[in-house]
């Protein structure tokens, strides 16, 4: 009994090994790292052949491989962020089948966090995770930029500081961001409203592409982004991580720290404190600085948990605080100003380098508090409850303050939104006869939004609830799942007209469904998924009415819009290792009915500042089809080639015309070099050179846009990293160079493309220093 307990405590990961014997020094050693607890693949574990400095990473399926090995005895060392290092001896002279490798399971809580967000089960919808390396390399960048490391996630940018993820051509309200298990609710409808999240909280960033409405509720017709922090400590003691990053463009500096603790005297009470400071000045294009594009962030989060086998509870608080400068040249008075801006080679309002942020700017404060608890019943499943409250304050300061001096002295925002959101979620999961797993859940949401200053969208109240059931079946290498969900949303809008308050009430309700299956073959995996979802129109689509200063256009809502609904079909093929090729290919089709879309209308709107082109929210039927691929081919054990690409075809099926505002197609070949280093101190070196080729966006009708899409462009990016391992200290070092050739280009999805070029060369360095407090480790013994 005693031994059993010990094993249960120590087992975290198993390593399944299979080897192919061809001839001497041509052995291929392939394996899989899986989590002992939930049998899930552990991606991005580092596997090193001890003594040789030969290393590799497990891919998104937990699979890794070494090629051209000689016969002999090897010791594999596997390390993963969530687990402690494990070693496994392999004899490469005879065929060994399955070997177990034990890994200390340090992160009990982590499993729980994951459990709430995605079932521990295999899903027919592929979850793409941001690689460990990509994540390290993009430290200090905004979340939307980091996500670009995942194939086919694009970003809708407003300069370099505001970056919104785009999945398969959809963004903003059509994507849900799950921040630490809580649905992020801010003013996400605005294309220049970035997600209010500190990426340094995250240890894992993953994307679910396509309709994920059954599990995550309405709106998720484009996909879901999961942001998950690392687990809290489960063993007594303290540890810390310091992250430092600097970037040449904008002279940006970032410092972030985490302290984890587990207080022995308090019977396993865990805590974490985390904070980030970031400061950036004016960024520069190859030829000039972009005036007023600096930004800063001050973020803080704290978590505390108490976990036992049958009961656990956790409290999490985070505060996001950011001030973002808006390019002065992009704030437009009227069409003449806009045309003058277009005809100017450099922005009309130019500047040198400065950290100062002047008007126009945005000030954003986002508060999140979450309480989560679970109960485990021996054989009767597990119940998880999450309660969260968010407050998001967004203040927008226009280019010019009030003319009146005493009003100007108050420096009040011209527009301020405050939104409160309260979400409850109750989930029950039970496994029956080892083959069937049932997940049942209930969610409710209450939201209230109010504004001060100039009118853009009215105040509203949004109440909703939903219930779902997901059934999962697994038999050997086959699995299938089916799910169903019903949601209701009641939106009450408060409009003031001629001194009277009108309160129209919208009651939307609809279903979401999910059907999928997958099969694991020896060297590859196939998954098929059909998902449906829906999205009620958002308040800006119903009631927007005014000039958009960033776009010099009038946007008019339509209060009679119907909800969007979609059917998303995807086929995913994951290759573990076939003839030294590994990777994944996905084909998808997303059919969206009542797709809400801005369409130009005549006549233009006459205002005192001249006539503005006018756009109205209308509904069309849309079809989005595409292919994403990511393939890796190993030339030798140290040299690999990699190719990433995405193709999207977006059609308005009513008019048979292509949809605009969609990401461009792109392909990115890369070479990855991972030499074996002789030094004992330095290891895991890699150098990656990639060449991103982005095609020109689809040409649009003359009245749909002011300027034709910018031309195609190519960017050279260089990325390198190394781990320094001394006796007492480990350190991750990295450097990356974006746009190494200092190419002048404009990206179609950057809102500043009308006014200015994109960023020039940006050299960034990052440093990660984990700190272990030795004294406490000793105490543990």
């Amino acid at each position: 009994m005693h031994k059993m307990l010990l094993i249960a405590f120590l087992l975290c990961a198993k390593l399944i090994l299979a080897q192919q014997n061809t001839s001497e020094c041509t052995y291929t050693l392939a394996g899989k790292v899986i989590d002992e607890h939930n049998k899930e693949a552990l991606p991005f574990a580092t596997i090193v052949i001890k003594g040789t400095q030969i290393a590799t990473l497990s891919d998104s399926l937990g699979v890794f491989s070494f090629h051209n090995l000689c016969a002999g005895k090897f010791v594999l060392v596997s390390s993963h962020l969530d687990c402690e290092n494990v070693e496994l001896e392999v004899n490469l002279s005879k065929n060994t089948e399955v070997t177990k490798l034990q890994e200390h399971h340090a992160k009990e809580l982590h499993q729980l966090i994951i459990a709430a967000q995605r079932s521990q089960l295999q899903q027919s919808q592929q979850i793409s995770m941001l690689g460990h390396r990509e994540m390290e390399a993009s430290k200090g960048k905004p979340l939307g930029e980091m996500l670009k490391g995942i194939v086919v996630v694009n970003s809708l940018q407003t300069g370099s500081s505001i970056s919104k993820p785009v999945i398969h051509g959809l963004h903003s309200n059509r994507i849900i961001i799950m921040n630490n298990g809580v649905r992020q609710e801010g003013q996400q409808w605005g294309s220049e409203h970035g997600p209010e999240i500190d990426p340094f909280v995250a240890n894992k960033i993953a994307v679910i592409k396509g309709a994920a409405g059954v599990r995550y509720g309405p709106d998720a017709i484009g996909g879901v982004i999961l942001i998950e922090p690392n687990a809290l400590r489960d063993s007594a003691g303290y540890d810390a991580i310091v992250n430092l990053a600097g970037a040449s463009n904008g002279k940006q500096g970032t410092a972030s720290g985490i302290i984890n603790g587990n207080i022995k005297q308090l019977n396993g009470l865990n805590f974490r404190l985390q904070g980030t400071l970031k400061q950036a000045g004016n960024s520069n294009t190859p030829n000039y600085y972009l005036k007023n594009t600096g930004f800063n962030e001050k973020n803080f989060s704290a978590g505390m948990a108490y976990n036992k086998t049958f009961f656990g509870s956790e409290v999490f608080y985070s505060k996001f605080n950011s001030k973002l400068g808006i390019l002065s040249a992009a704030h437009i008075g009227n069409i003449t100003d806009l045309e003058r801006a277009f005809n100017s080679k450099t922005p009309l309002d130019s500047a040198g380098f400065s950290y100062e942020i002047q008007r126009p700017y945005q000030l954003i404060v986002h508060d999140l508090i979450k309480w989560k608890s679970y109960l485990k019943f021996n054989k009767a499943g597990k119940l998880t409850y999450t309660l969260s409250r968010q407050q998001d304050d967004r203040s927008e300061y226009d280019k010019h303050g009030p003319r009146n001096d005493s009003l100007a002295a108050l420096n009040k925002p011209e527009l301020k939104f405050t939104i409160h959101t309260l979400i409850h979620e109750l989930i029950y999961e039970i496994q029956v006869a080892r083959k069937f797993t049932t997940q049942v859940g209930y969610t409710s949401m209450h939201q209230a939004n109010s504004y001060e200053g100039r009118f853009f969208i009215p105040n509203f109240n949004n109440k909703g609830w939903g219930a779902f059931v997901i059934e999962h079946y697994k038999y050997n290498n086959f699995f299938a799942e089916a799910g169903f969900r019903y949601d209701e949303r009641k939106l009450r809008v408060f409009l003031e007209k001629n001194g009277f308050i009108k309160q129209p009430l919208y009651d939307y309700h609809s279903y979401s469904g999910l059907l999928g299956a997958g099969y694991h073959f020896k060297n590859h995996d196939l998954k098929f998924n059909i998902g449906t979802g829906w999205r009620p129109p958002s308040v800006n689509e119903l009631y927007a009415n005014g000039v958009h200063h960033g776009a010099a256009a009038v946007e008019i809502g339509d209060e009679n819009l119907l909800p969007e609904s979609n059917i998303n079909t995807s086929l995913w093929w994951g290759i573990n290792s076939i003839n030294k090729i590994s990777g994944e290919v996905e084909i998808y089709q997303n059919v969206i009915n009542n797709f809400i879309y801005l369409i130009p209308v005549q006549p233009a709107t006459q205002t005192i500042r001249g006539a503005f082109p006018t756009f109205k929210y209308k509904q069309v039927n849309a079809i989005l089809r595409g292919i994403d691929l990511q393939l890796k081919y190993s030339l030798s054990k140290t040299l690999h080639t990699n190719i990433k690409g995405s193709y999207l075809f977006a059609l308005n099926s009513d008019t048979r015309l292509r949809l605009t505002q969609m990401p461009q197609n792109s392909i990115e070949p890369a070479i990855l070099w991972e030499p074996v280093l002789k030094s004992k101190k330095w290891n895991n070196f890699y150098l990656k050179i990639s060449y991103l080729m982005v095609a020109k966006a689809v040409t649009v009708a003359a009245d749909e846009d002011y300027l034709a899409p910018p031309p195609a462009y190519q960017l050279l990016n260089v990325d390198a990293g190394i781990i320094l391992n001394t006796k007492n200290q480990k350190m991750n070092l990295g450097i990356n160079v974006n746009n190494a050739l200092n190419t002048s280009y404009r990206s179609y999805l950057n809102r500043y493309r009308y006014f200015a070029d994109d960023m020039g060369t940006n050299i960034s360095i990052h440093l990660k220093i984990p700190i272990n407090f030795k004294t406490n480790n000793n105490e543990k013994k």
Binding site: F310, F311, H331, I332, G333, N334, T336, D337, R340, L348, S373, L375, F377, L383, Y385, L387, D398, K399, H400, P402, R403, N404, L407, K412, E414, T418, H420, L422, H424, L426, S444, H446, A448, S450, Y451, E452, G453, R454, F455, P458, N459, N461, R492, F494, L495, E496, I501, N545, G546, V547, V554, I556, T605, Q606, T607, I608, R609, G610, F612
Partner: protein
Amino acid sequence: MKKNKIILLLGITILTWQACKKDADLPKLPSPINEPEVITSLKFTFIDSANAANVITASFIDADGDGGNQPTTFDTIKLKSNTTYLCRVALFNGILNEEITPEIEAEANDHLFIYKTSGVNLNIAITDADSNNPPLPIGLNARWRTASISNGTVQIILKHQPGIKDGTEAPGDTDVDLSFQTKINN
């Protein structure tokens, strides 16, 4: 153990319910309108230099500002041929129901009106100046000298040029840009 669980479940249920209840207190109604200072309306007043009793006005009125309701008034400027008028421009904020002209006058060093004619036989000369060094035109007051009978437009532009005023149209942002139909009759 069992008992504990039941208590916990009960606790969770109560908390859920309580949290729902509290939500009813969240803000709902529009907060008092705190509109920024916008220009919504413009009015020309023409005084015949030969006969001060002969006063003509022309206005653009969009009382609720950009978007919302369409402008209610966009007059045609009707002037007599071969006449000199002294013209004064007045600006209003229809939302707060106040005149903005005094504020423009107070900040004359940062503002410039530009007049452009097209198709009309009309000469417009700005008669006021600010306190920049050297003084630059403002354009709140101008002399309009009509010639023969003609039809066309007069475009009036107000540029806000804080600290960057140089007497030309190029710098700054546009606060007003209106093209008035103009008729010069007998």
